[in-house]
């Protein structure tokens, strides 16, 4: 890699050729404020706060738009830079409503953070602030199905405009009017309608664009823990962060408070889609399964695992026995498995051992994988394409030997399973579906089969009370993706780990352990104590594949951020995570600014010069 070496504040820094001074400063841990710059979108050079002094250049330069060159000498601390920067902050704040106490961005706001560090001590602005849509809460206006807009807070960095144009490829946001009257707006106030809209809150460096989902729901200091995980709502496998609330009682009992993208240049860049971002409420929702249940006549009754397990074992044995006389149990297995591609690789691995233990090497034929696909309405040129397949692990299932047909490109084929059930050849169906409601697609035929008696036994292991689960004889409370450490193989074939952010509720269990317990009760020697045991076995079974190091994949625990700023501020997380910046800005103080006197509120008059 070609590099250049420059000096920033006396510190020699070597960076890849083509990097800007701002990027070099960030990499080197030199704090330079910025708003219009975002690593994922084009450079604009309009906010002017990243000004630095570069030797041999007559004027101060914006570091975001200046390429590093060998021998360049950059200063971020000289008095004229300090003054110029503070001057720009004064302008930025001149019309910014200081409603931080009611602003959702408050506490993780780059405008707050940077102006504490670099801004002037106070503002000389004594005119009424510019008001666009009204004062206070009236300023929060409709900005499409997922967003709210507060123009009073906007500093016109145009990150949102550029995001929609460059990443989404549908320039729905523009600027209307000009000069001090400029405001961001959608055509005729239609709002933003995009599958990527949630990213706009992340790129917004102030509280101007907010997601409805997170609005007024929490404050950053109430979300002190973050878990790095992987989204499982489609086969793309975006790397995400799950944010946890310290006081769940303030959010109607849920701990999961938001999902934000986590930078991974190979998978999702800086972005994620709205499905993954907003579709997490089911995990802690009303229909979440908290206890195992068994059928008693018309009703499902909560029960205990130790009561349920022997009965389940007996019913399954009975089901297998009832058709042992049948000529070929391999072609028409009495017990069939319908498995959602939301099942993790660990679960699929244990299931494979289970069915092969029970039915021999042809056991996998008894398993049918199911998932749904849908066309996501996205502009043709989008830089962030959401996958068609609404499940995370079709490729993982294929790698383990399951029959998935065309896999990610195609739709599942349930016709054989359906005809086997509807012809009355099947004694029992075991459904494994840790995904949200609907992840198996249409199950009405299966419900009908159970209800009219064609299918004698239906067991559902899952996370939510679906219509299918309501029709089951046994309901086994499993775990959703944020409740377990699990592997998923995305549509690129990349094996990624999702991490347990919250514990499964009530008596719900890890899905692999339910399968292990079932296998053991049926007399199989499945000796796994923990998920890592399963991953070790998986790794040992599949050498020379990406799974060979499955046990080494990093799953993270909730991180209690020592400095909440370090973990907050989703739009800037990439910086902390990937550029090793270890100097968190501290309110009112910056290590970089040590020894530099704060700028006077009033510029001394230089008229006599």
């Amino acid at each position: 890699m070609e590099t250049v070496t420059l000096t920033i504040d006396g510190q020699p820094i070597t960076v890849a050729k083509g990097r800007t001074v701002l990027q070099a400063a960030i990499e080197a841990g030199v704090s330079v404020p910025y708003y219009c710059y975002h690593p994922g979108i084009s450079i604009d050079g309009s906010c002017r706060v990243c000004v630095v002094k570069i030797e041999k250049m007559p004027k101060l330069q914006t570091s975001c738009s200046t390429l590093c060159a060998d021998g360049m000498v950059v200063s971020t601390r000289e008095p004229d830079v300090v003054d110029a920067r503070a001057g720009v902050f004064e302008f930025l704040l001149a019309n910014h409503p200081l409603d931080c106490p009611v602003c959702d961005k408050g506490g993780e706001c780059p405008l707050q953070d940077f102006s504490y560090t670099f801004g002037p001590a106070d503002s000389r602005m004594d005119f009424p602030r510019r008001v666009f849509d009204g004062e206070g809460v009236k300023a929060d206006v409709d900005f499409g199905p997922t967003l709210m807009l507060n123009r009073n807070r906007c500093i016109l960095c145009t990150r949102c405009v550029r995001f929609m144009k460059e990443i989404d490829d549908d320039a729905q946001i523009g600027i209307v009017d000009r000069g001090a009257g400029s405001e961001i707006a959608t055509f005729q106030e239609q709002g933003v309608h995009s599958l990527l809209s949630g990213n706009l809150m992340d790129v917004c460096p102030v509280g101007a664009i907010l997601t409805r989902d997170y609005r007024f729901k929490s404050r950053p200091w109430d979300n002190p823990t973050v878990v790095d995980t992987t989204c499982t709502l489609c086969s793309k496998g975006c790397n995400t962060s799950a944010w946890l609330k310290a006081k769940p009682e303030w959010a109607k009992g849920s701990r999961l408070i938001r999902m934000t993208p986590r930078y991974n240049p190979d998978v999702n860049g800086y972005w994620m889609c709205d499905i993954g971002r907003f579709n997490y409420h089911w995990v802690e929702g009303e229909s979440r399964l908290r206890r195992p249940m068994t059928r008693n006549g018309d009703v499902l009754e909560p029960t205990a695992w130790h009561d349920l397990q022997p009965r389940l074992r007996d019913r399954l044995r009975q089901a297998r026995g009832s058709s042992e006389s049948a000529a070929s149990s391999v072609q028409a297995p009495p017990v069939r498995f319908l498995v959602s591609a939301h099942a993790s690789t660990e679960e699929l691995f244990v299931l494979k051992q289970l069915v092969e233990g029970l039915m021999g090497s042809e056991g996998l034929n008894a398993v049918t994988l199911a998932w749904t696909t849908s066309d996501k309405a996205q502009p043709a040129g989008t830089k962030f394409k959401v996958s068609r397949t609404n499940a995370p692990n079709v490729n993982g299932a294929r790698d383990l030997g399951y029959q998935v047909g065309a896999g990610n490109e195609g739709t599942p084929d349930l016709s054989a399973l359906r005809s086997a059930i509807e012809s009355g050849q099947t004694a029992a169906v075991y459904v494994l579906d840790p995904g949200p409601d609907g992840s198996l697609g249409d199950t009405s035929w299966l419900i009908a089969a159970r209800q009219n008696g064609t299918l004698p036994l239906l067991i559902v292991q899952g996370a939510v009370m679906t219509d299918l689960a309501s029709a089951a004889d046994f309901v086994l409370a499993g775990s959703a993706f944020v409740e377990k450490d699990a592997l998923y193989t995305n549509d690129q074939g990349r094996v990624q780990a999702a991490s347990r952010a919250i514990a499964p509720p009530g008596e719900a269990r890890d899905d692999w352990s339910i399968l292990v317990a079932l296998g053991q009760s049926l007399g199989l020697a499945l000796a796994y104590e923990s998920a890592i045991d399963v991953r070790r076995a998986l790794a040992a079974t599949m050498p020379d594949t990406p799974y060979a190091s499955a046990d080494l994949l990093v799953v993270t625990r909730p991180v209690a951020a020592r400095n909440w700023l370090q973990a907050s501020n989703p739009s800037e997380r990439w910086k902390w995570d990937f550029l090793y910046q270890d100097l968190p800005p501290v309110k009112g103080h910056s290590v970089q600014m040590e020894g530099i006197s704060p700028r006077a509120a009033y510029i001394p008059l230089k008229l006599t010069e």
Partner: protein, 436 residues
């Protein structure tokens, strides 16, 4: 008055001076282009460089150098953009050239395109000049018909198209990168430089952006030689120059002269002296964006370098003459109203600063100002200067900084008295109809 025979505007007063026939008959029309096409493009650039022609749009940057910077080794097309977005307050010279001598510009565009290797020239004309655009377009069509534009011009194998692109009301479109953005169909906002237009301009292709008057000089240089051009006027300030004189003079108008001509000559000889013979107070010598000059500067030659030495800039040569009745606080407020209205809003200091400055000036002018407002005016202006994306910020702060430096007493009086202390009420004065 220094004897001087107009060249660019020699015939503008005559009927049909705009027509192709007139141009060919009386002004050696398209002879420059004919001559240029027999030479190498590089030679044309050299001649323009030797002539010392400096951009007439405001910055005074050497035109030959600008052309030389245009990227040569590129598979992309190159473009000439003629900046006819004449919007600087006090400037109206390009208007005359386009209206009365359009073929000079068309010929200039064609030669410029030939010199840098472009095949297309766009004339970006401000939207308010619709009547000028109509003439220009009609004359371009005639030039096509006569074989001076289009395919295989004058049998040389050189193709060149000239199109007129109409703006729609934006001062900022006169900034060269904003002009390019506007030509690309976006809001006229400046781009970060580098890359300069010479490398990545219109459609990210190498582009030269030149003022109308600049391009009009090109045929003359080619025809008469660079020495003829540089010999006219002071060193490094050669060639004919158009001056726009407006404000408190008897005969406002466009006057052509060499850059030896002093401000005094322009006001008292060309423009007939001060309106109502009132005393001269100050002059804005280069369009509203430059610092004011005082009576002691009246004998300064109106050249790029001399005006700069006097502490201002020749800019677009828009001379706004002010008599003793003009309140400088009002003047700054009037201009900041303009800059606030025209600020594109892209970069922070200009967007917020112009608005703030205008509010402060309106408060002081309205008699509500406080002593601290004067420091604040100065502080806010200083915070804009040098911090903005384009030169607009500096231009906007200039009227404030200049009037505050030169006429601070008027500001202080406003704050102290709560009103304007100038006795002459210029607003009651009848505008005098200048005899043209």
């Amino acid at each position: 008055m220094t004897p001087y025979a107009p060249i660019l505007t020699s015939h503008v007063g005559e009927p049909n001076s705009y027509s192709l026939d007139f141009y060919v008959t009386h002004q050696q029309g398209y002879e420059g282009l004919r001559k240029a096409l027999t030479q190498e493009p590089g030679d044309i650039i050299d001649q323009v460089k030797t002539s010392g022609l400096r951009g007439r749009g405001g910055a005074g940057f050497p035109t030959g150098l600008k052309w030389q910077f245009v990227l040569k080794d590129t598979p992309n097309p190159k473009y000439i953009c003629c900046n006819a977005d004449e919007s600087e307050p006090g400037t109206f010279k390009d208007h005359v050239l386009m209206e009365r001598n359009p073929h000079l510009l068309i010929e200039g565009c064609a030669i410029a395109a030939f010199a840098i290797g472009a095949r297309v020239a766009y004339i970006y004309i401000r939207g308010e000049f619709y009547h000028v655009q109509q003439i220009l377009e009609a004359e371009i069509e005639k030039a096509y018909a006569a074989g001076f534009l289009g395919k295989n011009i004058l049998g040389s194998g050189f193709d060149c198209d000239v199109y007129v692109h109409r703006g729609a009301g934006a001062y900022e479109a006169g900034e060269e990168t904003a002009l390019i953005e506007s030509l690309e169909g976006k809001r006229a906002q400046p781009r970060i430089k580098p890359p300069f237009p010479a490398v990545a301009g219109l459609y990210q292709c190498p582009t030269a952006v030149n003022n109308v008057e600049t391009l009009c000089n090109v045929p003359l240089i080619v025809l008469n030689g660079p020495e003829w051009f540089s010999g006219m006027g002071p060193e490094k300030n050669g060639g004919p120059k158009l001056y726009c004189v407006s404000g408190h003079v008897k005969k406002p108008g466009v006057y052509e002269a060499s850059m030896h001509t002093t401000l005094r000559e322009l006001i008292y000889d060309h423009a007939g002296g001060m309106l109502d013979d009132r005393p001269f107070k100050a002059i804005i010598p280069g369009g509203s964006s430059v610092p004011l000059l005082l009576p002691e500067h009246l004998d300064t030659p109106a050249s790029f370098d001399d005006i700069q030495k006097a502490g201002s800039m020749l800019g677009s040569a828009g001379l706004i003459v002010l008599n003793d009745s003009v309140c400088m606080v009002w003047l700054a407020m009037n201009l900041l109203h303009f800059y606030r209205h025209e600020s594109c809003g892209k970069c922070t200091p200009c967007r917020e600063g112009c608005d703030w400055l205008y509010k402060l000036l309106a408060r002081i002018e309205g008699g509500e100002g406080q002593p601290k407002d004067l420091d604040l005016l100065f502080g806010v202006s200083s915070n804009i200067v040098g911090k903005t994306l384009c030169a607009f910020g500096d231009a906007a702060a200039t009227p404030v900084l200049s009037t505050m430096t030169l006429f601070r007493a008027e500001y202080e009086a406003h704050v102290r008295e709560g009103r304007c202390t100038l006795t002459a009420d210029w607003r009651a004065a009848h505008p005098v109809m200048a005899a043209h």
